[in-house]
């Protein structure tokens, strides 16, 4: 029986392309005719939602690779789909990328085969969420901050601190902020609280809002319990939040540039700012499956995603920042320098990008509170515990 298993696994190893995990492509050949991508909704547009936003049709015509997109709603779904197999690429966020690398579901990318790599923002080229031991496991796709969105009729001057959503206070219009602010309905919001404490309570010695020991974690939860009294409803759906700003009298909340842009385009008095404490953010990477059936098409696509034109339109469409800085200014697409500034391009240093909190962190083995506890405790905080 054992010998059968050994024969089986050897055969399997042979079938899966004789590829040890660290092998990478050395040349890009002709396309295989198709490409399967797991992506966030709205990330890969072929002009079906809005004709002006199409970065697939041209690629298909030029490369001969038909692009099939499978949209996923959460990072966990992305990881599950990649574990299942059958896909070539995934647009993974910081909370999924390292899990995919650790689980050996993605392969290193040979950046020499991607001519546009040199144009990528140098601050992202070696970002820790896709580079492990100097090996690149993908190409950056888009990044953005979680900004503080506010009503400009209430705040004549942009708020300078996140305290408007964390501490009970009177807003500039003289009325209390109770019931008029919101917070994100996801456990990762604990990181926003931790970042606030990092600035205001240095004695806690928080070095990263995603690596909290028991004491730091308890302080963050306390801050959030205070916030519970101020928040009428937490937001998790971008469109519900926009509705709450319109009809529910909400005037300040952590948010994404996506909502800010949409509300502004409707002519509402909305502004956004990255306050003095900084902000959390997301940065996504196009990663290549370890058993990708269409690696040539995948490499062609990765090169394509770094083209200035695509980056420019994508950043306008999704409300993020291009990973190729030139896309902000060279006029290749719809993005402008002002647009990039509004999306937080100049605040890169202030942004702490999303990563999954794990028990084994820089503070030591098992020193940090892992993500699953963030989830159950945040449920408690929202429930009034």
């Amino acid at each position: 029986m054992t010998s059968i298993k050994i024969i089986g696994s050897t055969a399997l190893a042979l079938l899966t392309g004789l590829s040890p995990a660290l092998a990478q492509m050395t040349a890009v050949g002709d396309g295989e005719g198709q490409l399967n991508i797991v992506a966030w909704a709205g990330y890969i547009e072929r002009g079906e939602t809005d004709k002006a936003f199409d970065w697939v049709t041209k690629f298909e015509a030029a490369s001969g690779c038909k692009v099939n997109v499978k949209t996923a709603n959460t990072s966990d779904e992305m990881v599950a789909l990649m574990n299942e197999g059958g896909f070539d690429l995934v647009t993974a966020s910081g909370d999924a990328s390292l899990r995919l690398i650790a689980g050996k579901r993605v392969q290193p990318v040979n950046t020499d085969l991607i001519p546009s790599w040199s144009k990528v923002d140098p601050r992202l080229q070696n970002a820790s969420w896709h580079t492990v031991d100097g090996v690149h496991y993908g190409t950056p796709y888009l990044w953005g901050p979680n900004v503080l969105m506010y009503n400009t009729e209430v705040f004549k001057e942009p708020p300078t601190s996140w305290n408007v959503v964390f501490e009970k206070m009177d807003l500039p219009d003289g009325k209390s902020n109770e019931g008029r602010v919101q917070a994100y309905d996801g456990p990762i919001h604990i990181a926003d609280a931790a970042q606030y404490l990092m600035f205001h309570k240095p004695e806690l010695k928080i070095t990263s809002p995603y690596e909290l020991n028991e004491e730091q974690y308890a302080a963050a939860l306390d801050l959030l319990r205070g916030q519970r009294a101020l928040v009428g409803r937490y937001w998790h759906d971008a469109f519900i939040q926009m509705d709450d700003f319109k009809n529910e009298g909400v005037v300040a909340s952590g948010s994404w540039p996506f909502q800010v842009g949409l509300l502004k385009s409707e002519g509402l008095p909305i502004g956004s700012v990255i306050p003095q404490e900084g902000a959390t953010g997301w940065a996504d990477t196009t990663m290549l499956h370890v058993d990708a059936a269409n690696p040539n098409c995948a490499y062609k696509w990765m090169e394509h995603t770094l083209s200035s034109n695509l980056q420019s339109d994508l950043s306008v469409w999704f409300g993020g920042n291009p990973v190729v800085p030139a896309a902000c200014t060279d006029g290749s697409g719809m993005q402008t320098a002002e647009g990039c500034t509004a999306n937080g391009l100049d605040d890169f240093e202030k942004i702490r990008f999303w990563t999954t909190p794990v028990a084994n962190c820089s503070q030591g083995e098992g020193a940090c509170v892992p993500y699953y506890r963030w989830v159950s405790d945040y449920i408690g905080v929202i429930g009034g515990r």
Binding site: Y234, H236, G249, P370, I379, G384, R385
Partner: protein, 310 residues
């Protein structure tokens, strides 16, 4: 005198076989649905139950497939206990609200509405069921919003004081109807009301007129007739309706996300725990709770004759 019969075809043989052994045919016919029920339906429930006896590793967040009751003990943590209690309370309130609101409607529709009016009643009750559930909930969010139509109407009629008094009720009040438990209760009642009215109406229609006449002949007042004849005979319908409203409220995870103050309900907790946290054992343990509650509920309902009215 020997009759020469043609050789039997396969179909003939089968017909004979089934005629001789009727049970065989029965087994053949009933196996596929039984397999569906057994494997797909009960099997998935069993898998769920099994998961709830696993636990999650404190450090890595990985699921440990070993039997333990640790996950159920976690349900007793205050924040989780709160979720269960909150859901139960809301389900009970919604059921009661639906019964009180639905009974007069069902009573009128069953006993007084005639001809075209009857059709209007049926349509009126069924119509909300034909539009999308999400659309209805979003519409209610707008109606109940702080700057929505109710607040506007209260201001126009100078009754804002009443609205604010209701909203300042401790526990169930909030900043606006849309962010309070009261608002959530209203939406739940609206969405599940038809499920309460329809079985009620069915059971009220089955109350024989002769009994009501007998009651009147024996000198009972209308109130007495209602209390001692109609209500007991209609009770199974009320209970049947309450099974729907109670279980539907308990399992819902959309309404508490859109209306209310974001406090978790069982459905939402399951959704979050299995979706983003990867804590499938706790999600499974949470999912077992409504099953247990409904089993008890159904047992009581059966004893009260609720299933005669379905």
């Amino acid at each position: 005198m020997t009759a020469i019969l043609p050789a039997k075809s396969v179909a003939d043989r089968l017909t004979t076989l089934f005629w001789r052994k009727p049970k065989l045919l029965l087994i053949l016919l009933i196996t596929p649905p039984l397999l569906w029920l057994g494997v797909v339906y009960l099997g998935s429930l069993a898998a769920l139950l099994m998961q709830s006896f696993y636990s999650i590793d404190e450090f890595s967040g990985m699921v440990i497939p070993e039997f333990t009751l640790k996950t159920y003990a976690e349900l007793l943590r205050p924040q989780n206990y709160d979720v269960i209690f909150r859901t139960l309370l809301m389900s009970a309130a919604v059921t009661l609200g639906c019964a009180i609101l639905g009974f007069p409607i069902a009573y009128y529709a069953a006993r007084f509405a005639r001809g075209r009016w009857k059709a209007v009643f049926y349509l009126g009750i069924m119509l909300p069921l034909w539009s999308s559930y999400l659309v209805k909930v979003y519409a209610w969010k707008l109606i109940l919003a702080k700057e929505g139509i109710i607040t506007w109407a209260a201001e126009a009629t100078h009754t804002s004081g009443i609205l604010n008094a209701i909203l300042s009720l401790p526990g169930i009040g909030g900043g606006s109807l849309s962010t309070s438990y009261i608002g959530m209760f209203l939406v739940f009642v609206y969405v599940w009301l038809p499920y309460m009215i329809l079985p009620m109406q069915a059971s009220l229609e089955r109350v024989p007129t002769s009994m009501l006449e007998a009651s009147a002949d024996l000198g009972a007042t209308r109130a007495q007739t209602f209390r001692t004849v109609i209500l007991p005979l209609a009770l199974p319908g009320v209970i049947a309706g309450s099974i729907f409203t109670f279980s539907l409220t308990m399992g819902d995870y959309i309404i508490p996300q859109i209306v209310g103050n974001s406090a978790n309900f069982i459905g939402m907790a399951v959704y979050q725990l299995q979706g983003t946290a990867g804590n499938i054992p706790l999600a499974a343990a949470f999912a077992v709770i409504p099953i247990l509650i409904m089993l008890v509920y159904l047992w009581i309902a059966k004893r009260m004759g609720a299933f005669d009215a379905l």
